[in-house]
């Protein structure tokens, strides 16, 4: 079939079972298409021999097995070019012989066929939960991929990280629920169908839980009571680092998972949404000495895994083995892998699961200057990729604030999560910590800036946001471990009843608490991340460790969007608010000075009395104000923003800081108000009648915007109650006003403040020009 190329370096020199081959190229590792054939290259430091095993797709037995002639090995690398293979139907693996001496770190087993660590696609788990053939001589099969995807003009978006709003999601959970309405449920194509939703919500970055090929059947078991099959649903257990999970592709059964994923990424980019991958380089699916031999264990066990002096597996990951990331060989594989995903898949950023492990030496000790982390930070291909660490591991290394960053790495800010959660449930002694949180945690990242921290309150691990306000304790019985799995330090508060309740007061308080949480998150400096479904009150019924459920415990119920429309609309508003206000998206920390001479520092803190925050240990209220002249660290211009959050069970009477002449406080958010008046859209905020005081409700948060008044044709509003009453009527007129603002028409800020304070007095419509931005 193939037309032979004229290049003389691509002609066969050897033949075996009618298959023609020749000496190969040592680099690149893996299987690479070359004229008329495929170049295979694999390394092993201790194998005594190696053969290439070739299968027709899905066939139980190989059609050929070609031993690498001695002269085809250079150093520790075996390579050959095989001609006339059917790229699309080929599955290949290696058989390696060598010593089985566990105490020396060697576990060679020539009865096993091993998948290529550098394979670009895997066969064998083509469809999600397809029943495996446990007798298969080669269950995880390396495959070839074409690299001719038509990206057109796409490339990674390279948005500034401080401008991102990250949406953490599970590929299957997002559209698997019947209510999703997606045609290709639970797949990459399904996410593509929901891009309009992501656009509507306003997020500009999705972070996908692991999509590297994993085995959902790994450690599968029956629930002892219910009989339900529990599986490796989240997929934090990699079979191959270069291959997308076939079972996540609707086209996986045709072997087209690569095309489907690339199409998703291309379309997300076209919609201005970045794509982050959650990558798991701390361990593999091969487990410990009792686990299966899939690839690394049989190719070069001692190189790929951290081993004890006795030859057992170190278990810093809590899952059986630990990848030997600071071995130079493994380090290069990780680097090759990330370069591949950045260049071939246009991935915008990576979140490294249990990344503290990547900073451990080969004997497990933490390194001061971990070469892998340094290599990644300095890599030219990854230069514009976001690198984000989960800065702890299961071996007790906790590096939030101290993760080796090399000026590049950001990290999941676990301390932000813990502080905000405690504050939300009414703990005391936290005001200083909350002040740090909203500033982008300068105490953790004094030299790294606000963007070192990914702020989050919830993630896939632990309670959803709704469960955080509906459960005091975890309820993990569905996991089949008698509620012993999952974290116990949830820092959650159920608002008065454990789980679902008919109590209207409790349900209203829960919604308010969710709005408080999201409000604080979206006005904090740093990079906010929200968990899929939190915008519509998704519940896992108190389960805080749902790694094993392919069911409604994990699937997003899209009906919640209507049921909890108030939460959805509120979240959408907060995202829009953040994107509209550059003052919330600084890259560097505040100076706490007024270096522009505006009369206000970039950030100031307040309490019941303006300019006097209550830092005392029993305080549960904090307010802060941002001067818009210092937006983007002074390079942009914004309104003044005032945020007050009160987690005390009684309301607080606030004195508001006085604004410069001509500017007025407007209400953007007040979580104390019922749906409909809990927020006002951007540029349609309600003018605050009393410009000097505000009664902040119990367990409530307000966001005010200080800016010129917009054509006040109504009587000024004087109290939250009146805000509620007047809101509906005012919105259409405010909309008109907003339009006027954008067309540089009448802007009327200079109102006599005494008139504002007196509801009976008419507002003087004095025309002035808007301050120049």
């Amino acid at each position: 079939m193939a037309e032979y190329d004229l290049r003389i370096d691509y002609y066969p020199t050897h033949e075996h079972q009618d298959i023609k081959y020749r000496r190969g190229h040592v680099l690149p590792f893996g299987a690479t298409m070359v004229p008329n054939g495929v170049n295979f290259s694999v390394y092993s430091s201790a194998a005594t021999s190696c053969s290439l095993v070739l299968f027709e797709k899905n066939e139980p037995q190989p059609f050929a097995e070609i031993p690498f002639p001695d002269e085809f090995r250079i150093g520790n690398v075996y390579c050959m070019v095989v001609f006339d293979l059917d790229f699309e139907r080929l599955e290949y693996g290696y058989r390696m012989d060598g010593p089985f001496e566990p105490t020396q770190g060697h576990r060679f087993d020539k009865t096993k066929i091993l998948s290529d660590p550098y394979a670009k696609a895997m066969g064998g788990r083509d469809t999600w939960l397809g029943p495996p053939n446990w007798d298969n001589v080669y269950p995880f099969r390396s495959r070839l991929v074409f690299e001719d995807f038509d990206w057109e003009h796409d490339r990674p978006l390279e948005k500034p990280i401080e401008d991102l709003i990250v949406y953490e999601m599970h590929v299957r959970s997002f559209t698997m629920h019947p209510s999703s309405g997606a045609k290709y449920k639970g797949s990459f194509a399904g996410i593509r169908e929901k891009i309009p939703y992501l656009k509507e919500l306003g997020v500009n970055c999705v972070e996908l839980l692991p999509i590297y090929e994993f085995d959902e059947w790994e450690h599968s078991k029956q629930h002892p009571d219910t009989g339900e099959t529990l599986i490796n649903y989240w997929g934090y257990s990699t079979v191959n680092f270069f291959s997308p999970k076939s079972g996540y592709a609707a086209a996986g059964k045709f072997g087209m998972q690569v095309d489907e994923l690339k199409t998703l990424i291309k379309d997300l980019h076209a919609n201005n949404i970045e794509v982050f991958l959650d990558v798991v380089f701390n361990h593999t699916a091969e487990g410990d000495h009792r686990g299966p031999t899939i690839s690394f264990k049989g190719i070069d066990n001692k190189t790929y895994y951290m081993l004890t002096p006795e030859g057992y597996y170190f278990n810093f990951s809590g899952t059986g083995n630990t990848l030997n990331c600071n071995n130079p060989i493994v380090r290069n594989m990780v680097l090759d892998c990330l370069r591949y995903w950045a260049s071939e898949y246009h991935i915008d950023g990576f979140r490294f699961d249990l990344a503290a492990i990547l900073g451990r030496a080969q004997n497990g000790a933490p390194l001061n200057n971990p070469p892998l982390l340094e290599s990644l930070a300095a890599d030219p291909i990854l230069a514009k990729c976001k690198l984000i660490a989960e800065a702890w591991d299961a071996g007790g290394l906790y590096q939030v604030g101290s993760f080796p960053a090399y000026g590049r790495w950001a990290e999941w800010n676990g301390k932000y999560r813990d502080g905000i959660r405690k504050f939300l449930k009414g703990d005391t002694g936290l005001i200083g910590e909350i002040a740090q949180c909203v500033q982008g945690s300068p105490w953790l990242y004094p030299t790294r800036g606000t963007t070192a921290g990914i702020n989050f309150i919830t993630c896939h691990d632990g309670f959803t946001l709704y469960d955080m306000v509906a459960y005091n304790d975890k309820h993990n019985y569905a996991n089949g471990e008698d509620n012993n799995d999952g974290a116990n330090d949830n820092e959650s508060w159920n608002c008065g009843a454990e789980g679902e309740t008919d109590d209207a007061y409790i349900n209203a308080l829960r919604h308010k608490q969710i709005k408080n949480a999201l409000s604080i998150l979206m006005v904090s400096q740093g990079v906010p991340m929200i968990l899929m479904g939190d915008e519509m009150g998704r519940t896992q019924w108190g389960n805080n460790n749902t790694y094993c459920h392919d069911s409604e415990i994990n699937w997003l119920d899209w009906g919640l969007k209507d049921k909890n429309a108030d939460l959805y609309n509120f979240t959408k508003h907060l995202i829009a608010f953040r994107m509209a206000h550059p003052a919330l998206r600084n890259r560097h920390h505040f100076s706490h000075n007024d270096w522009k001479g505006t009369g206000y520092p970039d950030i100031s803190f307040h309490g019941n009395t303006a300019w006097q925050p209550d830092w005392s240990s029993n305080s549960r209220m904090l307010a802060f104000m941002l001067d818009g002249h210092y937006a983007k660290n002074g390079s942009d211009f914004d309104d003044y923003i005032y945020v007050a959050t009160n987690m005390y069970w009684e309301s607080a009477y606030l004195e508001l800081p006085k604004l410069p002449e001509g500017l007025f406080w407007h209400v953007s958010v007040n979580t104390d108000m019922p749906a409909g008046t809990d927020f006002f859209p951007v540029n349609k905020e309600a003018l605050l009648g009393d410009q000097y005081h505000f009664i902040l409700g119990s367990r409530a948060t307000i966001i005010l915007v200080g800016r010129p008044q917009l054509i006040p044709e109504e009587m000024p509003i004087t109290s939250p109650e009146e805000v509620a009453a007047v809101a509906e009527a005012q919105v259409p007129k405010a909309a008109t006003a907003a339009k006027a603002k954008t067309t540089k028409a009448k802007v009327v800020p200079a109102v006599d403040t005494t008139a504002v304070l007196d509801p009976a007095a008419p507002v003087k419509k004095t025309k002035t020009t808007k301050p120049k931005k």
Binding site: M1, D86, F87, R89, F146, Y184, M256, D259, E260
Partner: protein
Amino acid sequence: MSFTVTSEVTGGIAKLTLAGSLDSSSASQLQAEIQKVAGEAPTELVLYVADLTFMASAGLRMLVFAKQKLGTSVNIYLVKPQAQIIDTLQMTGIIHSVHIVDTYPA
């Protein structure tokens, strides 16, 4: 099932009729046919695929190849594809690069 492809170019419009199963073993036939018609610089490429029963990724590759070979300004029409073929095109997103029609001209 075997694969057949025939082609003609009339009035600047290349028309190919495909039948059978388009996979890696047959894709080169289609590639040769596309190369042949590309020589006449057609303004449109029409693929009659009502009798095409299966399209593997090698087949998809040929659509991408055709687009690159003929230029992005050349519209590609698929006339009466079977449901399974449309599914494949949808899942992989290539459906946006082609026009699905019941008849040509529409």
